[in-house]
Amino acid sequence: MENYYANDEMIGYMNMKKKLANCIEFAQWMVALAIAMLVCNMFTFVFYHPAIEVKTDNAATPGKMTPNAWCIYGNEGWGIEYIDQNGYVNENKPLEDKYILAVGSSQTEGFHTPVGQRWSDLLNQKLATNDKLKVYNIGHSGYFFPQMAKHFQAMCKEFPEMETIVMEISDTKFALEDLQSAMTQVDFDENQKMDKIYANMSQKQKLKRKLKENVPLLRWLHLQYETMKNRQHDSVAETVEYIDLEEYGKLLESVLHMMRETFDGNVIIAYHPSVIIQSNGDMKIVEKETDLLFAEKCKENGITFINCSNAFKQRYEQDYAVPIGFWNTTMGEGHINSVGHAIIADEVYKEIIIE
């Protein structure tokens, strides 16, 4: 009988020991995973530390970034950028009394190009006369022409001292409903200036943003997942298949007219088209059926239209320099590189000097 109990106790003891060993094993795996995440997170800082955005529906751009932060994008090209106190990608320097506003999409934001090589930086180098900023970059990812036009009045109110506005576009063909929607202008709200947004932000929200900023690994993995989900989706610009040119012309006319009426300074639209590297070795400029119409409507409304097509082509013929693509992606695809930025800067500079 005694033996029986001793045996039972032994089995119980063994079971407990086994359970304990399993628990330890599980805990070890969890700790190992945590350490691995930490190591990989540290490594992610080298190539991906994105800016955290705040939505600003009633401001010059539909979003701004955490002020006085830094970010790295290494998935296409590699660039380290600084965010100024207003939530835009500029050096923290004072603005000149009268300045040029550089507006555009992720191409203008230029996360993929090192500081000093973006077209707005190059233009600054050419135009700034003292240690102030002459060109102020408010580029924002996904900010294409119809969105820029929709925020045009807010842009003029948020930056009242601008003398010239340069809008960078990579397409001239837009969905009619987007152009139509641009006619309903967003109202500017003073509370959507970055200093006020930050002042109104709770400590909890600020802490949450700080945390998000310091765990780039999770954001990178999320980006990977999104890429996998949208394999066929074009990340640079949505393409519009068919549009009625007559209707397009009318809508564009009213949008450009509204812009002209709102702002009496110099408005420049810098257009850089897509390119294709052809099997015969040439670089083809992708022309859209709306290119000419767009240029024509700009002219009619006193807006300067710069088409970088010829400059792109000339540069390629001269030394095979491709304006789009990076050493970690492919040539001719994606965002503009430092060659493309330099060409845009030169073209805009020439126009500003002439004006």
């Binding site: 995973l33 190591v39 690994l217 394999r231 590297i277 052809q278 693509g325 492919t330 040539m331």
Partner: protein, 465 residues
């Protein structure tokens, strides 16, 4: 259904549950494997199920006739093999022939004949079964066994080509679930996923863009693109093979390695012992040796080498470039063979000197990489353009894809380490998770796969053959 999809993971889990549920019943396990293999193939493309079934039935029938040791065995083997090769040739070369005919008539042929996925691989397995039965290496098998051998899902898309005598003994024992096999096989699968998604697919971006417009790129850029493709094709195929071998291993089947650091081979014959080992050994056993191998004099040996490489080229496809690829590899094998004979005759031993060893590795790598050009372009004119631009250092777009440099250094590092520390053999060993550090390393490895996997669409290169 690709190995690298969520649906495949689900499929594999269901297969494992069903398969190991009857771990004492051999027939049950075989039936499960056969059903899931055919489901797997049907999910790839249901239209070709008939071809798979036909090949299986044909080889089962021929082997049955041959096993009776009749007078007509030779005739049956010949008919059997001609039938099998005929099906392969029909699907591989029909489009080519139609194209040629179309050029002579009024360009009215508008249809294309699709090749069943994995046909080249399972036809070779079918031949292996027929030949092994005839040579008494395996006994005649039941239809269920033959169908399973030819249609076994881990290897059906791109091999490895498993010989009948290696497969059947493993098939005739019931397999029990093994945690060790799951852990080791799982790791091997992850290594394959890393090779495919992180290395091969990432390189495919650069390779695709440069090879689509070679006339636009500078000689240096083309050189790097050639290197990139040499890495892409290796990691793509080795990655697939590792995944296939891993799945089979978890199910209880042991296949040998299909790749063994091929780019540290110091000569052509060493290369073919390391590259696509299952195909090379198949060609050696079922073609080179029956042709007489090296037993019938030097000239016959050279001819046999050339025939084997020609068949290898033609096995890959109907394009002229595959023929050129095969001929040039054959030529290299013959030159190497002559060189070895001369060295033997004069009793010169260069392999004593490490410098010559590394020099021969470099020469072999360069040669193999250059021969990948026609393999990739599948166009003689593009091949000439690329070679001309490389050797004249032509001006063009300067494009050195950073991942090519990184993975080249990685490959060279692994190769060098294996050469110095492991006698040139693969250094990969599964972790046993006895130490805490091994758990951390494993977790980092898994996260790295998710971090750096190329998430675009990319098929396995060898699935097209």
């Amino acid at each position: 259904m690709s190995f690298l999809s969520f649906s495949f993971v689900m499929f594999l889990i269901i297969v494992l549950l069903l398969y190991f549920a009857g771990n004492k019943n051999l027939t049950y396990q075989k039936a499960v494997l056969l059903i899931v293999s055919y489901i797997f193939y049907a999910l790839l493309d249901i239209r070709f199920m008939g071809v798979l079934l036909l090949i299986s039935l044909w080889s089962w029938y021929i082997a049955k006739r041959c096993s009776k040791k009749q007078e007509k065995t030779r005739l049956y083997v010949s008919i059997g093999c001609i039938g099998l090769i005929g099906v392969l040739a029909f699907f591989k070369y029909c489009n080519y022939v139609l194209k040629v005919i179309d050029n002579y008539i009024d360009h009215s042929i508008t249809f294309n004949i699709l090749m069943p996925i994995g046909l080249s691989f399972y036809v070779f397995q079918a031949i292996s079964y027929v030949c092994d039965v005839v040579h008494g290496k395996v006994n005649e098998k039941s239809l269920l066994d033959v169908c399973l051998y030819i249609g076994f899902f881990p290897q059906i898309v791109s091999g490895p080509i498993v010989k009948a005598r290696d497969f059947f003994p493993q098939m005739n024992t019931a397999h029990k679930f093994s945690e060790t096999r799951l852990i080791d096989g799982g790791q091997r699968f992850l290594v394959g996923a890393f090779e495919k998604m992180v290395i091969a697919d990432r390189l495919s971006i650069a390779v695709g863009s440069v090879y689509s417009a070679p006339a636009a790129y500078s000689g240096v850029s083309l050189c790097w693109a050639v290197i990139a493709y040499s890495l892409q094709i290796y990691y793509d195929f080795a990655g697939y093979s590792n995944m296939a071998i891993a799945v089979a291993y978890i199910l209880g089947f042991d296949y040998g390695d299909n790749f063994d650091l091929p780019y540290i081979a110091s000569n052509p014959s060493d290369f073919w012992r390391r590259w696509h080992i299952s195909l090379s050994s198949w060609l050696k056993e079922y073609l080179y040796i029956p042709l007489g191998g090296s037993r019938k004099g030097r000239i016959r040996k050279y001819i046999n080498l050339m025939i084997v490489m020609l068949v290898s080229g033609l096995w890959h496809g109907s394009s002229l470039t595959f023929l050129i690829w095969g001929v040039l590899h054959g030529l290299a094998s013959i030159i190497h063979s002559i060189w070895v004979d001369i060295m033997k005759k004069y009793n010169i031993r260069l392999d004593k000197y490490q410098f010559f060893e590394y020099l021969s590795i470099a020469i072999n790598y360069i040669w193999v990489s250059l021969l990948w050009i026609p393999f990739r372009t599948q166009s003689v004119s593009d091949t000439i353009v690329i070679l001309k631009r490389i050797f004249t250092n032509a001006r063009g777009i300067q494009y050195i894809y950073i991942y090519t440099v990184i993975f080249f250094v990685f490959m060279a590092g692994v190769g060098l380490y294996a050469k110095l520390k492991n006698d040139g053999k693969s250094i990969w060993k599964p972790l046993k998770f006895k130490k805490f550090s091994e758990k951390v390393i494993f977790c980092i490895f898994v996260i790295i796969i998710f971090m750096f996997a190329y998430m675009g669409e990319n098929a396995f290169i060898y699935a097209q053959f």
